[in-house]
Symmetry: C2
């Protein structure tokens, strides 16, 4: 059986729901359908989730809630009308939102969670009603009853391990299950939501729970491209890649998936396929545990800006057992996670994302490194970009680093950092932000244009 | 004024002491002379320090001490005889060793220290007597009286900060001070020695204490070469390099200096010159705090084997604040210092020296990483070599990494690890041991042969 997840654009309008229905109907193994809230119909449109955030803010601050509630309901009403679903489901949805507005407002975060989750929940009810109207046997599934159990507030939300056992019974259902993404419930029945984009996680959890043959993730692109199509003209499509490649690409700019979304599927080695609701015939991109190496050593190239480096030097640093650990402890005290730690003999740099820093944190870090670690020099530089070459075949390709560094040299850019050697599937370059685009283009040319590659 | 340190080969024979005397006489600013124990006169010869270790072992284990003591005394006697110094100094030296043999044997390490230190101490007395006999006004300096104070047993030996103040009075002496290297005394008057090669440290401490204009380190090579002359034919001489370059080169195979030796000189920015006792006219290699960049971006290339990598992978590792710190804590618990930590997205490697590992440590580390850090995969690989390109001019040379990786690709070898980006003066490659030599040769050709370079 297959678990299919449809993203916001796939549920944005009646026309889109018809495409979803056709996709579900075309393959009887598509038995579990996870849905997002209705997304944008056009570029300037507002997602239902954003309308719901507005509604919850209005309710919490004592402002008028009629207008934002109307905006939300209009989206559902319009879809129901155009699909000829009648008033029953619309009333059901409206009552649901009114019920949510009565929730306890003393925890603003939990109150907002209640409203936001309504986007997905009612999207699921609407799709179930539509499939039913088409004569397909489909049930809306309540995550509380189905057993999608989350840990308790206020810890960072995560799924509890026993959820998988409970959710596995969905496998036995004869009918098609329509499951709202994005939220679950604590043991005590309190609703909590994942981070934004969390419907991908719900789909991944369900795929793992029912041990699906495939987790199909429907979005609005045909596939994952080997490089950002906004920068590289007509990049090639990636037909297949491994989880590791996906993760390494996602690190710097490939935002197809929410960061943690693939974890449950990864743990059960369930293949994932990224497909296009608007063009379901396209093969899409398969993400698998292992794949045969292609002739091309590089699978994709990603690039992202917004990195800083914390540079620390101290004479005889590398004789000092515990130096690195103490430095990382200082970062941990500031709740900072880091990306890389390139090191010389008496110095090291910590590469981290700019959003991890603030003037206060920077000042405290610099002070502590200088005084507690007695560093000779410590400073922070911003304006870095990371460019990452990813490919399972890279590790044993002699001369690959030479081709990459040659290509970068051709652009006239300086390489600030190189990190290779752990993952075996990636080669990371730190460059100055203003060099990022030209480097990405030249690397793409080197590894993917027909003249240069294999 | 200048502080001069002479190594073991410079004091191995009467002929060598004559060279030392000529060097001291040639420049009146050479006022403080630090000496090692007599070293090897020929390839199969035994250093006096090794004879003294034998002597101390014999004394501690109740074996015959006459023969090893004879061997030691013969070395000093022969030098004294050939320099026509008469019996007085020989008797002084013999009494000194006999006195040392009466030391308290209950601490075998301290007992051995007493005997080993006699090598340098009596070398200093002999040189002072010889310079005196030449009409040069020279005094043997007792480190206890001069105030070279060390921390207490059993902590790792290091100089106490107030030593510098006490030793600074040597600057005022009219006569030439002959100072034995390698040892000092605790506040309570207990003798302790530095690690082997520690006379370099004594010289560096004295240079810092008297704020010398130059610290001349006399050895048996004309200079430091840009690459190991045992592997590269006729490598060029390095005329000048910075402390940083020296440190980075020393890291992988350039063993001109004891690791910590330059620290005191470095802190006072005292220039260091490596010179040849057997060819004092050669300019030698200057080690300075800062230098003008030469046209050549690379100053030297070193290579060393004996490295291992500890590889750890865990899905979503880089979202987990504290992961790296916990890993380093496990290594710290095993008293292991590491060299580099190249990292991918969900994995990292720790590069460390093989001698830091043992089967027991490896097993404990693997077990803890697997279970405490819940790693998906962890393993250790040996047989790595590190090849390091060093040069102050490297950082801003566009295309340098490309030239280096091209050169390595020409050898057909695979690059296992690249680390660049912190030090700005080095580029480190991890390669398999069996590829080390050919890579070193090719990199030398690329950056130093007249055809290729600048």
């Amino acid at each position: 059986m297959k678990v299919c997840k449809f993203g916001g654009t796939s549920l944005a309008s009646a026309q889109q729901l018809k495409k979803v229905a056709a996709i579900v109907q075309a393959d009887t193994s598509r038995k579990i359908i996870v849905v997002s809230a209705p997304g944008k119909r056009f570029d300037q449109d507002i997602k239902v989730t954003d309308l719901l955030i507005e509604l919850s803010t209005a309710a919490l601050t004592g402002q008028d809630i009629q207008k934002p509630l109307r905006q939300v309901m209009e989206r559902y009403e319009q879809i129901a009308r155009e699909l000829n679903l009648g008033n029953e489901v619309v009333t059901l949805i409206e009552n649901d939102f009114l019920q949510r507005l009565l929730a306890d407002p003393s925890h603003p975060v939990l109150f907002a969670d209640q409203l936001k989750a309504g986007g997905e929940d009612n999207s699921a009810k609407l799709l179930a009603a539509f499939l039913d109207s088409l004569g397909m046997s489909a049930d809306y599934i309540n995550p509380l009853e189905a057993g999608l159990v989350l840990n308790d507030f206020p810890d960072r939300v995560r799924v509890m391990p026993h959820s998988y056992e409970r959710l596995s019974s969905l496998r036995k259902k004869e009918t098609i299950s329509i499951f709202p993404g994005f939220f679950g419930f604590t043991e005590s029945g309190r609703l909590r939501t994942f981070e934004r984009g969390g419907s991908d996680i719900t789909g991944s959890i369900l795929a793992a729970a029912v041990k699906a043959d495939l987790y199909e993730n429907f979005t609005d692109v045909d596939c994952v491209f080997a490089a950002n199509p906004k920068i590289v003209e007509n990049p090639i499509e990636i037909q297949q890649m491994t989880y590791r490649e996906m993760r390494e690409l996602a690190y710097a700019g490939f935002s197809v998936f929410h960061d943690e979304a693939l974890m449950p599927a990864f743990k059960e080695s369930i293949p994932v396929c990224i497909k296009n609701t608007n063009n379901p015939e396209a093969a899409g991109t398969m993400i698998v545990a292992e794949r045969q190496h292609s002739k091309r050593p590089v699978t994709g190239i990603s690039a992202d800006s917004g990195f800083s480096t914390l540079y620390v030097s101290k004479y005889l640093m590398n004789r000092e057992i515990g130096f690195g650990r103490k430095l990382l402890q200082i970062l941990e005290d500031e709740e900072i996670s880091y990306e890389h730690i390139p090191s010389g003999i008496d110095n090291l740099s910590v590469i981290l994302r700019n959003h991890q820093l603030s003037p206060g944190k920077e000042a405290r870090i610099l002070h502590r490194v200088k005084h507690e670690l007695e560093a000779d020099d410590v400073h922070i530089r911003g304006d870095f970009s990371m460019v990452v070459l990813v490919g399972e075949g890279m590790h044993n390709t002699v001369g690959l680093a030479a081709r990459a560094t040659d290509a970068i040299a051709r652009t006239g850019a300086n390489i600030e950092m190189i990190n290779q050697g752990s993952s075996e599937v990636s080669l990371v370059f730190g460059v100055l932000k203003h060099d990022e685009e030209k480097i990405l283009k030249e690397l793409y040319k080197e590894f993917f244009s027909p003249v240069y590659s294999y």
